[in-house]
Symmetry: C2
Subunit: 234 residues, 2 copies
DNA sequence: CGAAAGGCAATTGCATACACTTTTTGCCTT
DNA sequence: AAGGCAAAAAGTGTATGCAATTGCCTTTCG
């Protein structure tokens, strides 16, 4: 417990813990309501309780875990109402980002957005869900940045990360890929011609649809068989 | 350092620290950019470094302090751009709350909103800035709650608390009180007749005006003479 | 037989000690 | 005299130990 932990990649130990535990929550490996025992986690990751506590604190701030004084931490339980509330917020936030992007994006940002978007069309034809997911995230991040408002960006990214556990399976639905791309296309077109109202509406509708698509999977709670051993990976 | 700390009011030690340090930042007692030394804080509040670290972590999550690995914590420095971004976000968020409130408030909530609002008219005539400030906060909180969306509520309250240091002096401007009440009146009227678009616009404009009023005071950074001794109070 | 009270085990909260990183300071070299 | 390097000092990150709170189990009394 005192020797150097082997080949630690980046950041402080706490960062590792946050990623490690956060991943397991986001991927449903740790189930909502599950108790997160400090000592156990410390033993699992071969660190002391101190960084574990700090990691739990951060995860709590992120809304991934709930903490009650003297009663330990548990994986956050998200009610159906709260989930709906988050998706709703997400739709509004994305709408704001799209509106602002339509008004404020630089010529360079607009070009980059369009190029990336067109490039991703190929992935739709190949039905490359994994890769498309990556481009999808990129696409939305461009919108958030394009708003040129640091605080909006923060709120949006935060909300997105909270929703992550419930968005995993959205592209599994048949035909969702092509539909997603077309919705993106509407947004891009509106942004390119600087039509903020249209961009906002398109973005809002887009998220609303994702929300409905995800609702299916939210009904069944996001858990998995989960037998794999725990260790620090990403 | 080991004896019971006298008559601690509520919550854990960390909560006390968060309130204590947070207050001093929000009130400008601790200045932006000022270094927050763990050992010094621990000594000042007569606790060990452990709760101080946790408190700084939470304050960092709130955006009140900035933390860089191995380099300690400082009171968050808010640039003019970031401040503008926060006010802008606030305007958008309040607009959302007002829109939702117009659509979703129960009859009881609407009644309470109107009654409170009418009652506060008296404070305007008395030019009771302090009391009006209290009602003002109440009023806006009602809007946030009326949206019936937990997540929007959280985002809005969070943003408001971050803006707190820069809003203190807004009612010092002559005539601001009456103007504020009239703007509230427009919002209330719109909500009462369920006109979400009008409510949203009115709320947005209201915040925008507050933003401009506050900008004057943001130029001079929010510091005070600050000679009072430090200790845990609220 | 049930309920309440008290004690015991488990777990969290805080304190202290140690290790590692960053920064400062003073000396040496150019 | 100025710049750079090295060692020490300061400060953060982590580990460990102790105190305090919580929840459960047992025991006892109605």
């Amino acid at each position: 417990m005192s020797g150097k932990r082997s080949l630690i990649r980046s950041g402080t130990t706490v960062d590792q813990m946050v990623r490690a535990i956060g991943d397991r929550i986001v991927t449903g490996f740790l189930r909502p309501g599950e108790k997160l025992d400090e000592a156990s986690l410390a033993a699992r990751f071969d660190v002391s309780r101190t960084p574990v506590r700090e990691a739990l604190g951060r995860l709590s701030a992120m809304g991934l875990v709930e903490r009650r004084p003297n009663r330990g931490a548990t994986v956050a339980v998200v009610t159906q109402e709260h989930l709906a509330s988050m998706f709703e917020s997400m739709a509004e936030l994305e709408a704001i980002c799209a509106r602002f992007s339509a008004e404020r994006m630089t010529a360079g940002e607009r070009r980059a957005l369009e190029i990336e978007h067109q490039a991703s069309a190929r992935l739709v034809q190949l039905a490359a869900e994994e890769d498309y997911e990556y481009f999808n995230t990129e696409f939305h991040t461009r919108l958030y940045r394009g708003a040129h408002s640091k605080h909006i960006y923060e709120l949006t990214v935060m909300t997105r990360s909270r929703l992550a556990p419930f968005r995993r399976a959205q592209f599994m639905l048949p035909g969702r890929l092509a539909k997603s791309w077309q919705e993106h296309d509407v947004i891009v077109t509106a942004i390119m011609r600087g039509d903020s109202a249209a961009a906002g509406k398109a973005a809002k509708d887009h998220v609303s649809i994702v929300s409905e698509a995800s609702a299916v999977f939210a009904a069944v709670d996001p858990r998995k068989p989960a037998t794999e051993a725990i260790g620090m990976s990403s």
